[in-house]
């Protein structure tokens, strides 16, 4: 195994992602290109930690949290589009479906007409 080959290889994957993200206008192609960025970063992290350090856990815990957070973020973006497409977004965000509803009348009571 050679760290230079692995690093060059990860850079090729990164460039493929860059090319796809710049060239394509489709949502799915841009998402796939983002996956290439993530995989390329993963190869770099794990490769360098394997070749340079005897046994380090810092990078592994970083990769652990980074993969979770990046994919939750991507999940959020895709779910936003999905909810827009299926009208879930308007049901949840615009309609009165919240568990706890609080508006002005909950705090100050209903407005009464004093003249009556």
């Amino acid at each position: 195994m050679n760290i230079q080959y692995i690093s060059l290889f990860s850079f090729i994957i990164f460039l493929m992602g860059l090319c796809g993200a710049v060239l394509s206008r489709r949502f799915l192609n841009i998402l796939i290109s983002l996956q290439f960025f993530i995989i390329s970063a993963l190869i770099n992290f794990l490769g360098f930690s394997l070749f340079i350090y005897d046994l380090s856990y810092w990078d592994k815990s970083f990769v652990f949290f980074a993969v979770i957070s990046i994919y939750l973020f991507l999940f959020m973006i895709v779910f936003y589009n999905y909810s827009k497409q299926t009208n879930i977004y308007w049901l949840d965000a615009m309609a009165d479906m919240a568990l706890f509803k609080s508006d002005k009348s909950d705090w100050w009571g209903d407005q009464k007409d004093d003249s009556a």
Partner: protein, 184 residues
């Protein structure tokens, strides 16, 4: 046969599989095929993380990757089910949906030249760095217990990622609010 040679061969093999599946997922027509190749690429990446002796660092967070894959599949299936060819106009807000052939070729040539230039610069300026690097004598496996212990002891990566996620979330919500306010 030496273990390191076998490991190296397997490593290059899985990296090659990741590259080929990724390229296929970009080039293949049809969204479902793209998603299939993308999922296979994730599987290959999981295998590759085991070959880097850090399988737990990628396989445990794969639960979130699975969630991402499922919602992406649902999104694409929904899109294909409800969309029809008749509903797509040829021009949308003055922009033509299909650019001309020579424009597509120009895009491809410019992007390939740009990425090739970047790759050349990367190769030239990193050559000395890799020649001077000192590599460890033996490779060690990161255990799950070690990773958990490190997570409980070292909060720096968590705080770092938390700050980045807060920053990204703020940008994302600003983008949504602007989009929504334009519509309203």
């Amino acid at each position: 046969m030496d273990g390191k040679i076998i490991l190296g061969f397997l490593n290059y093999l899985t990296e090659g599989i990741v590259f080929i599946l990724g390229l296929l997922s970009l080039l293949v027509f049809g969204q479902k095929k793209k998603l299939t190749f993308l999922f296979l690429m994730f599987l290959a990446a999981g295998l590759m993380s085991f070959l880097f002796f850090a399988g737990f660092a990628f396989v445990l967070p794969s639960i979130s990757i699975m969630g991402f894959c499922i919602i992406l599949n649902l999104f694409i299936q929904n899109q294909e089910f409800f969309s029809s060819e008749n509903s797509r106009p040829d021009s949308y807000n003055g922009y033509e949906s299909k650019p001309k052939k020579n424009v597509i070729i120009l895009y491809i040539v410019v992007s390939v030249l740009f990425t090739a230039g970047l790759g050349f610069l990367f190769f030239v300026y990193n050559d000395d760095f890799f020649k001077n690097i000192s590599i460890v004598a033996s490779f060690n496996t990161a255990t799950l217990f070690g990773i958990i212990q490190n997570i409980s002891e070292n909060y720096a990566p968590l705080i770092f990622i938390f700050i980045i996620m807060l920053f990204m979330s703020i940008i994302w919500f600003i983008a949504i609010i602007k989009k929504e306010s334009k519509k309203n």
